[in-house]
C-alpha cells in the first residue's frame, strides 16, 4: 500500500487530521531541503509536499515564485528532485508528494517520470496546471506505478467537476480554499467546510485543504472538518529568510511544531 494511504488510514483510526507542509525543493539548495524535510518529519508532519521549481509558476503567489527562482539559480531540475527523494529514502519513510507544473513532466517523459518516481520512493504527484481528464497517459502511468495522483478542486468547481476530480484523485484531494494563487491570508472563507463535505460525498479519498493557511488557529479551524491541513508559503517565507544558514531546519521546526500540534488537537466535527 502507498505510504500516503497508510498514513491517512492510521490517522483516521486515531481521529486525527494530517498536517502537510509544502517547501520548494532546492531552495536554497537540495542538501538544505533534505535537512528541512527530516526536521519536518521530526515535528510530526504526516505528508510532505516538495515543490518542483518552474520558470512560470502561474498558480503561485510571490513567495513561492521567488523560492522557485532561487532554486532555478542553481539549475535544480525535476531529475534532481526525484534524486533527492531517492536519497531521503535512505533515512526517512515520510510520505512525499511532488508538487509540480506539467511542462517539466512532459519534458521528462510521462512514462519515465512515473517509473523513476516509483524507483525513487515518491508517493504522489500533484500537477497543478493539469486538470483531471486532460492527459490520460499521465493518470495511467502513475496508477500503474502505484503513485498517487492528487488533483485540485477549487471554490469555482461545479458538481460535475467535483465528481471527476474526486474520481481521478488518489492519495488525497487537494481543496484550494479560495480562488487565487498560493499565499498567506488572514481568514478562512466560510465556504470551505461545505465544499469539503461536497467532495466527500463523491469519494472516500481524504480531502486536504490548502492555500491561505498559515497560523495555528487557522490550522485548528480547518482540521475540524478536513482530513488534511496544508501550509506552504508561510514556511517557504521562513526558509527564504534564513536560507543556507545552519539554523534554518531548526527554525522551520520551531515554526511548524505549533501548526502540527494545533492540527492534531483539533476536535473533529465531521467523521473521516
Amino acid at each position: 500500500m502507498n505510504r500516503i494511504d497508510q498514513k491517512f488510514q492510521a490517522l483516521a483510526a486515531k481521529g486525527e487530521t494530517a498536517f502537510i507542509p509544502y517547501i520548494t525543493a532546492g531552495d536554497p539548495t537540495l542538501s538544505q531541503t533534505a535537512r528541512i524535510v527530516l526536521e519536518l518529519e521530526r515535528a510530526g508532519c504526516d505528508v510532505i509536499e516538495l515543490g518542483v521549481p518552474f520558470s512560470d509558476p502561474i498558480a503561485d503567489g510571490v513567495v513561492n515564485q521567488e523560492a522557485a527562482q532561487r532554486a532555478l539559480l542553481h539549475n535544480v531540475t525535476l531529475h534532481d528532485v526525484v534524486a533527492l527523494v531517492r536519497d531521503l529514502r535512505k533515512t526517512s519513510q515520510v510520505p512525499l508528494v511532488l508538487f509540480t507544473y506539467y511542462n517539466p513532466v512532459l519534458a521528462y517523459g510521462v512514462e519515465a517520470f512515473a517509473k523513476d518516481c516509483k524507483d525513487a520512493g515518491v508517493d504522489g504527484v500533484l500537477c497543478v496546471d493539469l486538470p483531471p481528464g486532460e492527459d490520460e497517459q499521465y493518470k495511467r502511468s502513475l496508477d500503474a506505478n502505484g503513485i498517487a495522483t492528487v488533483f485540485l478542486a477549487a471554490p469555482t468547481s461545479t458538481a460535475d467537476r467535483i465528481a471527476l476530480i474526486a474520481k481521478q484523485s488518489s492519495g488525497f484531494v487537494y481543496y484550494v480554499s479560495r480562488t487565487g494563487v498560493t499565499g498567506e491570508r488572514t481568514d478562512i472563507v466560510s465556504t470551505v467546510q461545505g465544499m469539503v463535505a461536497a467532495i466527500k460525498e463523491h469519494t472516500s479519498t481524504p480531502v486536504a485543504v490548502g492555500f491561505g493557511i498559515s497560523t495555528p488557529a487557522q490550522a485548528s479551524e480547518v482540521a475540524g472538518y478536513a482530513d488534511g491541513v496544508i501550509v506552504g508559503s508561510a514556511i517557504v517565507r521562513l526558509v527564504g529568510q534564513y536560507g543556507e544558514a545552519p539554523e534554518t531546519p531548526a527554525k522551520v521546526y520551531e515554526f511548524v511544531k505549533p501548526l502540527v500540534d494545533a492540527t492534531k488537537s483539533a476536535h473533529r466535527t465531521a467523521s473521516v
Binding site: H79, P104, A107, G180
Partner: protein, 377 residues
C-alpha cells in the same frame, strides 16, 4: 476549468445571437473602421521586381493594429457575461491599448499587466492606456516581458474570476481562448478575400504575416486555409539569429510542451524550463506559439520562417521610405521576409502581406537601433 467552460458556453451563445452579431458588426464598421483597405504597394513591388505586393491595412484599424478586433469582441462578450472588470496582458502595448479602448467605450473597468522591460520600450502605449482610463500594472518577475505579463494576468483572473473577464490578446492560452481570438480575427482574411477578388479577379498566390502568438496571421490565413493554391508563410522573430539563443523562433528551436494552458511548440530547455526570448519587437517576444499554428506546421499547410532584428529594422525603413507607411516592428518582420523571397516570384503572382499594425509606437526604439547602426536618420 469551470470559468473556461462558462466562457465557452457564453461565447457559443453569443455567436448565435443576432443581437451580439449585429452589435459587433456595427462597431466594426463605425468604430474600428472596417473593412480596412487592401492596398497595392506599387513602389515596393517595382523595387523588389517580383510578384505584386498588397498590404492588408490593419494598421488603419482604430488604435493602429488588428488587436482591436479581438479586444472589442471579447469586451462585448465580457459585458454580456455581466463582468464589470476586464484585465489583459500586453507585450508591445497594442493589445493593452485596444482593450483599454474597448473598455472606455463600453464603460468597463480595465487593468493591463505589462512587463517592465516592455513598458520601457513602449512608453507611448503605456501613456495611451493610462489616458484611456486603464490601470497599467508593471510585472517585474521572470523575463519582465509578455510571458510574465500573461502569468500575472492569469493569477489575477483565478483570484477575481467572479467579476472579471480576462481578455487574452492572442490565439494562445487554454481553450476556448485560441478559438475565440481566431474567430474575432478571421474578419481580416474574409475581407482580404473579397478585396483581392475585386482587385485581381483571383485568389492570391501567397500570404505572409508575422507570428508572435499568431493572431494577425491566423486572422489572415484562416479564410484561405482550404484553398490549396494559396501558399502561406508565418514569420517569427529571429532576434539575433536562432543560433545565438537570442530569438523567438519557436519552430527553429522549440519542442512541444505546455505553457499557459496550451500545448504547442515552446522554447524550453531540456528540463522543461521556459527559456527567455529576444526580439527587437515586444509583440513577437514570446516563447510559445498558438496551438493551431503548430498544427498547421505539423501537417505542412503553413510554412514558418523567421526574420532577424536587423532585417526587420531594414524593412521598417524600406516600407517607410518606399510607401510612406511606417509599419509596426512586428509587421516589419513579414515585410523583411517578403523582401527575401518576392524577387524570385514571377510578376504575375500576387502576394498579400498583413500590415498588422502601425509603427508610431516603435519610432523611438527604431531610432535608437538605426542610429547605433550608423543609419543617417
Amino acid at each position: 476549468m469551470h470559468p473556461l467552460m462558462e466562457l465557452e458556453a457564453a461565447y457559443n451563445k453569443a455567436q448565435s445571437d443576432p443581437e451580439f452579431i449585429g452589435e459587433l458588426a456595427a462597431l466594426r464598421k463605425h468604430y474600428i473602421g472596417r473593412p480596412t483597405p487592401l492596398y497595392f504597394a506599387k513602389r515596393l513591388t517595382e523595387h523588389l521586381g517580383g510578384a505584386k505586393i498588397y498590404f492588408k491595412r490593419e494598421d488603419l484599424a482604430h488604435t493602429g493594429a488588428h488587436k482591436i478586433n479581438n479586444a472589442l469582441g471579447q469586451s462585448l462578450l465580457a459585458k454580456r457575461m455581466g463582468k464589470r472588470r476586464v484585465i489583459a496582458e500586453t507585450g508591445a502595448g497594442q493589445h493593452g491599448v485596444a482593450t483599454a479602448t474597448a473598455c472606455a467605450l463600453l464603460g468597463l473597468e480595465c487593468e493591463v499587466y505589462m512587463g517592465t522591460e516592455d513598458m520601457e520600450r513602449q512608453k507611448l502605449n503605456v501613456f495611451r492606456m493610462r489616458l484611456l482610463g486603464s490601470k497599467v500594472t508593471p510585472v517585474d518577475s521572470g523575463t519582465k516581458t509578455l510571458k510574465d505579463a500573461i502569468n500575472e494576468a492569469m493569477r489575477d483572473w483565478v483570484t477575481n474570476v467572479a467579476d472579471t473577464h480576462y481578455v487574452l490578446g492572442t490565439v494562445e492560452g487554454p481553450h476556448p481562448y485560441p478559438v475565440i481570438c481566431r474567430d474575432f480575427q478571421k474578419v481580416i482574411g474574409e475581407e482580404a478575400r473579397c478585396q483581392i477578388l475585386e482587385a485581381e479577379g483571383r485568389l492570391p498566390d501567397l500570404l505572409i504575416a508575422c507570428v508572435g502568438g499568431g493572431s494577425n496571421a491566423i486572422g489572415l490565413f484562416f479564410e484561405f486555409i482550404q484553398d490549396e493554391s494559396v501558399r502561406m508563410i508565418g514569420v517569427e522573430a529571429g532576434g539575433h539569429g536562432p543560433a545565438t539563443g537570442m530569438h523567438a523562433a519557436r519552430f527553429a528551436g522549440g519542442v512541444v510542451g505546455m505553457l499557459h494552458g496550451a500545448m504547442s511548440y515552446v522554447l524550453q530547455d531540456e528540463n522543461g524550463q521556459i527559456m527567455g526570448t529576444h526580439s527587437v519587437s515586444a509583440g513577437l517576444d514570446y516563447p510559445s506559439i498558438g496551438p493551431e499554428h503548430s498544427y498547421w506546421h505539423d501537417i505542412g499547410r503553413v510554412e514558418y520562417a523567421y526574420a532577424n532584428d536587423d532585417e526587420a529594422l531594414a524593412a521598417f525603413t524600406m516600407a517607410s521610405r518606399m510607401e510612406g507607411i511606417i509599419p509596426a516592428l512586428e509587421s516589419a518582420h513579414a515585410i523583411a521576409y517578403a523582401a527575401k523571397i518576392v524577387p524570385a516570384l514571377s510578376k504575375e503572382q500576387v502576394v498579400i502581406i498583413n500590415m498588422s499594425g502601425r509603427g508610431d509606437k516603435d519610432v523611438q526604439q527604431a531610432a535608437r537601433f538605426l542610429l547605433e547602426g550608423g543609419d543617417s536618420l
